[in-house]
């Protein structure tokens, strides 16, 4: 059998320098990472919805989506929530530190599917991170789309990520941003907005259900409820894309960890058509 010369590249990380560290919430931070040398990302420039395998020195690798795509000097952003040793080490990285990154891996959001249509972005919790790139891309090419609704659910007002960006989008006037929180948390909170779940925001959103494309990311329970609620609004499940999480370990389809039935999430996902992934999520412990 003739075997081509494969490259070690997908297994070997690039060391990226932390250029900025922005605290989003008590347990979540956004890192701006840039190549240390004059490395051009070229074909490897990430697309919204893709992920990288990130590791702080000495800690394990974790899959983290890109929350902002390559900007000046190839800098990207990742938003990390500290939930274990590996993510805690990343969230603790400070400007000047190096972070090992492999990627980008996986599919991105299919923005072409939304051309000429209304855009509905529904995010729950840290699920806004992989969707931020969708909003940025849509707003950078605003005329290509109809109405744009960004619906965000957070645990409490203090757990809201990208607050500045949400304000910035809201201030533009050509995108509707609605935010809701599960609870106020601090009783003295001055949160003026909605309290309830993100699906409740769909009632107040203006879009044509027959000509809308929805992008959904959040906990699985939230995504299942959202696809259902979109259906009640008249949005065909074929027009809904979701991003699912499984324990991606290698990123290249070789380790078997990210299986969701027939789907290798790192390869076929993490962004998948809702019609494909929902039946899989409905099988318990699949």
């Amino acid at each position: 059998m003739a075997i081509a010369e494969p490259t070690v590249a997908p297994l070997v990380p690039q060391l990226l320098e932390v250029r900025a560290h922005r605290r989003e919430t008590a347990d979540t931070a956004t890192l701006t990472l840039a190549p240390t040398g004059p490395t051009a990302l070229g074909d490897a420039a990430p697309r919204p919805g893709q992920f990288a395998m990130l590791a702080a020195f000495g800690a394990g690798e974790v899959p983290i989506s890109y929350s902002a795509m390559a900007g000046h000097g190839g800098a990207v952003e990742h938003t990390v929530r500290s939930v274990g040793a590996a993510t805690a080490a990343l969230a603790a990285a400070r400007p000047g530190d190096l972070v090992a990154s492999r990627g980008p891996f996986g599919t991105g959001w299919d923005l072409d599917a939304a051309t000429g249509r209304d855009v509905v972005v529904v995010a729950g919790g840290i699920g806004l991170a992989p969707l931020r790139g969708v909003v940025d891309a849509v707003l950078a090419d605003r005329d290509r789309y109809g109405s744009v609704n960004v619906l965000v659910g957070a645990r409490t007002p203090d757990d809201l990520c990208f607050a500045e960006h949400l304000r910035g989008w809201s201030a533009r006037g050509d995108v509707e941003v609605a935010i809701t929180v599960d609870r106020l948390g601090d009783p003295a909170s001055r949160w003026p907005g909605a309290i309830g779940v993100v699906t409740g925001l769909l009632d107040g959103a203006c879009f044509d259900p027959d000509a809308a494309t929805a992008f959904v990311c959040g906990p699985e329970v939230m995504m299942r409820a959202t696809v259902r609620a979109l259906g009640v609004q008249g949005v065909d499940v074929a027009d809904v894309q979701v991003s699912v999480e499984r324990s991606m370990t290698c990123g290249v389809g070789h380790c078997g960890h990210c299986q969701l039935g027939p789907v290798l999430v790192c390869r076929e996902g993490p962004v998948l058509p809702a019609a494909r992934v929902l039946p899989l999520l409905e099988v318990r412990e699949r």
Partner: protein, 156 residues
């Protein structure tokens, strides 16, 4: 605001979708518009539930008063939604407080009128009951999801 204008607000509200113009007329009789400023109370726990409120703008918080912690908002009701269902069932008294969290406009349907119209017309009664049930199921599902604390630690 004139009576026909108020009637149009009622007719255009999702709560009355599926009702005939005559049915809308029946429940909209005596309806009035309520405008609230942020922080302004709409009703209080224990008081008579004399009106069904259809929110047309802004959002209103459903609150519980807890000694030492003040008023705790547990959810909000926004434009397009029905606010309150205590007017439907005896003893017709509110179980929660309602306070505007933004500038808000609501149409207040007279509960006695609505109940009388429903008693008179079983078909209307069924449709109104279904709309209330739709609101309640949505509110219950939301409450369950809030209870799950989906975005908290230990959850994906």
């Amino acid at each position: 605001m004139t009576e026909p204008e108020i009637r149009d607000l009622v007719a255009g509200h999702p709560f009355t979708s599926g009702l005939s113009p005559a049915e809308v007329d029946a429940i909209a009789e005596g309806a009035r518009v309520v405008d609230l400023l942020p922080g302004e109370a709409l009703f209080r726990e224990g008081r008579p539930a004399t009106h069904a409120y259809l929110v047309t703008h802004g959002h209103v918080g459903i609150e519980v008063h807890h000694p030492g912690r003040g008023s705790i908002a547990v959810s909000t009701v926004g434009a397009g939604e029905l606010l309150g269902w205590s007017w439907l069932l005896p003893p017709h008294a509110w179980h929660f407080d309602a306070t505007a969290r933004s500038i808000a406009r609501l149409v207040a349907l007279d509960a006695t009128t609505v109940r009388a119209a429903c008693d008179h017309d079983p078909a209307l009664d069924r449709r109104v009951a279904r709309q209330v049930m739709r609101t309640m199921t949505a509110r219950l599902e939301a409450a369950r999801h809030q209870l799950l604390d989906l975005y908290g630690h230990g959850h994906r």
